[in-house]
């Protein structure tokens, strides 16, 4: 199914992996959620982002070796992978949730990640639960 309006994107990020720059979110309606550390990525928050209407959810965390809290990025990846399986199980398509290792300085790569997510949504389609929210 094609998305007619701007796709909704929710982006969770740790303090050191993301900094918003102009035009970063062109082509989408974005919400950003800052976490003190990527280890705060919780299953329920990811799922609730979809409940709140996100078509795609991105989690940006530091590179595994660059994580200030040692294992934060690794734990975040575990949470994302787990929630992807839940999304697949309930027919929501786990591909609409992804995690990337980034650094705040590298706004170019982050912009690419966002644009790729938007174009991927053309194939995956909008949040299948979205139209039925009250």
């Amino acid at each position: 199914m094609k998305i007619n309006t701007e796709p909704k994107l929710t982006l969770f990020h740790c303090l050191n992996s993301f900094e918003e720059t102009a035009s970063m979110f062109d082509g989408c309606d974005a919400k950003t959620i800052k976490m003190a550390c990527s280890s705060m990525t919780k299953d329920v928050h990811l799922l609730r982002a979809f409940e709140a209407g996100a078509d795609a959810v991105l989690v940006l965390v530091c590179h595994e070796k660059g994580c200030r809290y040692a294992q934060g990025s690794m734990w975040a990846k575990k949470r994302v992978d787990y929630v992807k399986t839940i999304l697949d199980d309930i027919g929501m398509d786990g591909r609409r949730l992804n995690i990337f290792n980034t650094t705040a300085k590298d706004s170019g790569s982050i912009k690419d990640i966002i644009q790729n997510t938007i174009s991927q949504l053309e194939t995956i389609g909008p949040n299948p639960a979205l139209n039925h929210f009250n």
Partner: protein, 222 residues
């Protein structure tokens, strides 16, 4: 603790088919520790179910609640008003908790959201192992605190068998041989002589094999 894991979500969705108002009731003790039925798991399951039902265009109301223990009347009581306003209780407790709820609320439907697995411990982060089968006649004193009834695949009391390989069991190279552990531990404790005594076949009447068991404490009954 009693360990359990969540039933596949599609099985849960099927179980919930006839109901519109669902109470997901967590249990804040054992099954919380093994990431199956605590507050966090209740919230995740509730969110996943809401998404799933909305995708199916099926109107549903979900209430979330976690009580300290579903296997004790005192705590169960707290859930009374939530239970009264819902059609069904999806219990994220062990089998004992589900049955305690069903006993206490005899007119309510109580569904199990978990598969109860065993009595065990958290060996390391995210890894739970079975340690006790509740045989009703504990012999850990003889075996240096390692249970062959549970941890030896053949339940040997005068082991090891010939399949013990470099400390691991022949049934699974990832499972430690209980008898290897027993001997190591008794050696450390200087109690290896424990094994000089022949241990006769176990009386399984004290276990589940003798039928469902009951524990009676006359000193706590009036």
């Amino acid at each position: 603790m009693i360990t359990a894991s969540q039933k596949p979500i599609n099985e849960i969705i099927e179980l919930l088919e006839p109901y519109k108002k669902i109470l997901i009731l967590g249990c804040g003790t054992c099954v919380k520790t093994c990431f199956a039925g605590g507050e966090d798991e209740v919230a995740v399951l509730a969110s996943a179910l809401r998404l799933s039902f909305k995708k199916m265009v099926r109107p549903i109301e979900i209430e979330e609640m976690t009580i300290e223990r579903q296997c004790e009347n005192e705590f169960i009581q707290e859930a009374s008003s939530s239970i009264a306003r819902n059609d069904v209780i999806l219990s994220l407790a062990c089998g004992a908790g589900v049955q305690a709820m069903a006993k206490r609320f005899s007119k309510e439907v109580v569904l199990p959201g978990l598969n109860t697995t065993f009595i065990g411990i958290q060996e390391s982060s995210g890894i739970f192992t079975e340690e006790c089968s509740g045989c009703g006649d504990c012999s850990l004193a003889t075996f240096g605190g390692v249970c062959p009834v549970t941890r030896c695949a053949k339940k040997l009391l005068n082991g090891p068998c010939g399949g013990s390989q470099n400390g691991f069991c022949e049934i699974d190279p990832d499972t430690q041989c209980a008898w290897h552990l027993i001997i190591e531990r008794l050696t450390t404790l200087g109690q290896l002589d424990n094994l000089k005594t022949y241990i006769p076949p176990k009386n399984w009447n004290t276990s589940l094999c003798g039928g469902p068991r009951k524990l009676i404490r006359e000193d706590h009954i009036i």
